[in-house]
């Protein structure tokens, strides 16, 4: 079952310390077993760890960052715009990855490589420019402190065409803020895990790419036919037009009604004023255009403009659901323009909206409860719904000023300085929880706890299904669903496509096995691909356990076990430690890991062998 196509079989490795860029071949075994995207990233990060004897400072020059689209990225496959950014995360100190949509991945592939790896540290602030013939490291001292959008505009001017695609960090990344993101294609972010800080620590402000090569596809005609089937299914779905119009903003209403919307830093799970920050409000007064990632007919991105009031003139893509919930209801902010502005500000400064919203929410609650004093807040009080104070705090985080300097170190930094903040911070492994309140569904608690990157919903999102169908689910059903999600969802990241057509419109996942087979010429069933994805999960688990994480880190946040939801349909819900422990034990068994959650020696052996 050799791989016939789908890859250039080349990786560009950049050593910023030496100033050397080199194209190196990618071994066939790596391609077969790890597919691409997050799979490639996990393996290369693992190899790098082994090389450094498991001693890696996430912000040190030795932390290799892997930027990898997948074999389907940029082809005619629906929503195939994804690129993974993989490295040891400065937020958690463990395995980290984040994926960005847009068109950056296509452009990167069109330079004739399957992935880009970067290590070392440039002597001064630089950008990496690459096209199909050359790669060069160009010093750009003039970009220091520039926001993401400013920098992207300047780079497009400098490289003389706006056909180049740019991945850039903002001031937050430069200042090594551990929740800094990478902004691609103006507004598509690799948000989580502090990947922006990794680039910042390497003195790399941006990556500018321009490519024009044909993507290798084994059976293009077959791929188009298969893709057309998927497009037709999506087009005929009853919610398709809703997706184009509202995108993820439609989740606001749903989440509030279902009692899973983070509100007042997860004190509540419904927001009485949700109608002021929902999709309808956006459509009524703010949306001025659609934005889609490559080859995506759903076009979930909404470009919005504030036309009046304090935030007049703000243009940004979004907010989408996570941003709107974390910077809106989670902070008690009920003014859509303010949420929009905060989202835009996060994009400009280059910080993750989920982590930022969570940290700011914790600060407000911490101050309310007396864990933080006015002195801790630099003498500037903050309360629920105080949008001006929120903006100020976002600036302070990105610039590491005052309290921002502690918040910039993420949950771990905050807890180190104020241990009692552990009670109000909703996080796992140091990564702040996404915008779905897990107390309503114990499978979601397990999903957050066992996610390799921390409390993020990208690995498994079982909450809606459990709420709708899972009243009488057994432990086993819950664990099985979490593991299935944790195998399937990362597979999308490995293939380089978006999961929304599947999770939101119910596109049959079997399509993806056929896409893979048609692109690579190496037939594989969905089961086989899921097996490879599951292997990658074992691998990222190994990365984490080797770095000292274990059962103690697959934790239940204090709030989830001790503070019942106050109001709404899920009022009173908590997930107790005993239930959680039971689920976790069963989960480890099903994974084939030991009681401490450590994969077996044979599994480890299979990754250390030459590949």
């Amino acid at each position: 079952m050799s791989i016939k196509s789908g890859y250039f079989k080349k990786r560009l490795h950049v050593d910023l310390t030496e100033g050397r860029c080199q194209r190196v071949p990618i071994a066939e075994e790596l391609i077969e077993r790890f597919i691409g995207g997050r799979g490639f990233g996990a393996k290369l990060v693992w190899d790098n760890l082994v090389k450094h004897d498991f001693q890696i400072d996430p912000l040190g020059p030795e932390n290799l960052i892997v930027i990898a689209p997948g074999p389907l990225t940029g082809t005619y496959v629906p929503s195939s715009g994804k690129t993974s950014f993989v490295a040891i995360s400065p937020a958690t100190g463990l395995y980290g990855d984040s994926s960005a949509g847009g068109t950056f991945g296509l452009e990167l592939r069109q330079t004739g490589i399957d992935m880009l790896t970067i290590d070392g540290r440039a002597p001064q602030l630089s950008v990496l420019f690459l096209d199909e013939d050359e790669a060069s490291i160009v010093p750009v001292p003039e970009l220091a402190g520039k926001t993401c959008l400013e920098a992207e505009g300047m780079l497009k001017d400098r490289f003389g065409t706006h056909e180049v695609k740019v991945a850039v960090i903002g001031p937050a990344g430069e200042n090594l803020v551990r929740i800094a993101c990478v902004n691609t294609d103006w507004s598509r972010n690799a948000g989580r895990c502090g990947m922006g800080a990794v680039l910042g620590s390497k003195n790399l402000k941006a990556i500018v790419v321009r490519g024009s090569k044909d993507l290798p596809v084994h059976d293009l005609r077959g791929l188009v036919q298969e893709s057309e089937k998927a497009f037709a299914y999506m087009r005929n779905h009853k919610y398709f037009r809703m997706w184009q119009r509202e995108g993820l903003m439609m989740v606001m209403e749903y989440a509030s009604a279902a009692g899973i919307l983070p509100t007042y830093n997860f004190k509540d799970a419904t927001f009485p004023r949700v109608h002021q920050i929902n999709g309808d409000t956006m459509l009524g007064g703010y949306k001025i255009g659609d934005n889609a990632c490559l080859a995506c007919s759903m076009a979930c991105g909404n470009i919005c403009l504030v036309k009046a009031g304090r935030y007049v003139g703000t243009v940004t893509e979004g907010p989408e659901y996570e941003s709107c919930a974390m910077l809106g209801s989670n902070l008690g902010v009920d003014n859509y323009a303010a949420v929009l502005h905060a989202t835009g500000l996060c994009d400009e400064l280059g910080i993750d909206t989920i982590s930022a919203g969570s940290l700011v929410g914790a600060v407000i609650e911490g101050y309310e409860q007396g864990i933080l004093t006015l002195d801790d807040l630099d003498g500037q009080p903050i309360a629920w719904g105080d949008d001006a104070a929120v903006m100020q705090l976002l600036h302070k985080i990105a610039r590491r000023e005052g309290i921002g300097n502690t918040l910039a170190d993420g949950s771990k930094g905050v807890i180190r300085r104020w241990p009692d903040m552990e009670k109000v911070l909703v996080q796992v492994k140091g990564l702040e929880q996404s915008a779905y309140d897990s107390r309503a569904a114990s499978s979601m608690v397990l999903a957050y706890a066992t996610s390799d990157i921390g409390a993020h919903h990208a690995r498994a999102w079982t909450i809606a299904k459990e709420i709708e169908q899972g009243k009488n689910w057994s432990d086993e059903e819950k664990v099985d669903l979490v593991i299935y999600h944790q195998s399937l969802r990362p597979l999308f990241d490995m293939l380089g496509v978006c999961r929304l057509p599947w999770i939101e419109l119910g596109l049959n996942e079997e399509h993806y096995a056929r896409f893979y087979s048609l692109v690579t010429g190496s037939p594989a069933t969905l089961g086989e691909l899921l097996k490879r994805s599951r292997d990658v999960y074992d691998l990222t688990r190994l990365v984490n356990t080797k770095l000292g994480a274990g059962r103690k880190d697959d934790s239940l946040p204090y709030k989830v076990r001790a503070c019942p939801i106050r109001t709404g349909p899920t009022a009173g819900k908590v997930v107790d430690q005993a239930t959680f422990d039971r689920l976790l034990t069963l989960y480890y068994q099903k994974r084939g890991w030991d009681a401490e959650g450590i994969p077996s020696a044979e599994v480890e052996e299979s990754f250390t062998a030459k590949a």
Binding site: L149, D214, D290, C296, G313
Partner: protein, 177 residues
């Protein structure tokens, strides 16, 4: 009846499905850089996604610029005779709309041929942003928009870093987006 390509930029989401399918249809290549249609994206001032399409001009400046007469208009379509082309790319520069393209892997420019009367970009656009309409209906979308603009055109002023700026926008209703 002669039909032409028309675009409604307000509807375009920038997904580039038009580019992908065009290159597949004409060059059997997964490569949007070999497409005869391109989506131009500007952001954030102004926010615009504009598909650039060939108008099949009756006085084609691309053909005028061709020193060997390789471009000819027949039955309403300006076609390129690739065997006669000398690859000077003067046509690409001559098109007032930038609707012809060059690619380093091709010995001749990329020219829209309306896919023998069934333009794939139109067929596949998920937003209806590119249309294939009778010539007498050209400008329809623009006229429609103008009506909307007259009805709702607004201008707002704001200050950015001490500099006064203004944005004009059409207040488009929920249903159009």
């Amino acid at each position: 009846m002669a039909k032409k390509l028309a675009v409604v930029p307000e509807l375009c989401s920038g997904c580039r499905i038009c580019e992908l399918i065009c290159a597949i249809h004409h060059f059997a290549a997964a490569n949007p850089k070999k497409s005869a249609v391109r989506v131009l994206v500007t952001y954030p001032h102004p926010v615009m996604r504009l598909p650039i399409v060939c108008g099949q001009c009756k006085v084609p400046l691309c053909a005028d610029a061709c020193p060997v007469g390789a471009l000819k208009r027949t039955n309403g379509v300006v076609r390129l005779d690739t065997s006669g082309c000398i690859s000077c790319m003067k046509c690409v520069e001559a098109c007032p709309f930038g609707a012809m393209f060059a690619h380093s892997g091709l010995d001749y420019p990329i020219k829209c041929d309306l896919c023998d009367g069934k333009p794939q970009c139109v067929e596949k656009c998920p937003k209806g942003a590119i249309r294939f309409i009778p010539e007498q209906s050209l400008g329809e979308a623009r006229r429609m928009n103008n009506v909307l603009s007259y009805a709702h055109m607004k201008e707002i002023e704001f200050t950015e870093k001490g500099e006064k700026k203004s944005i004009r926008y059409a207040e488009i209703g929920k249903e159009e987006l």
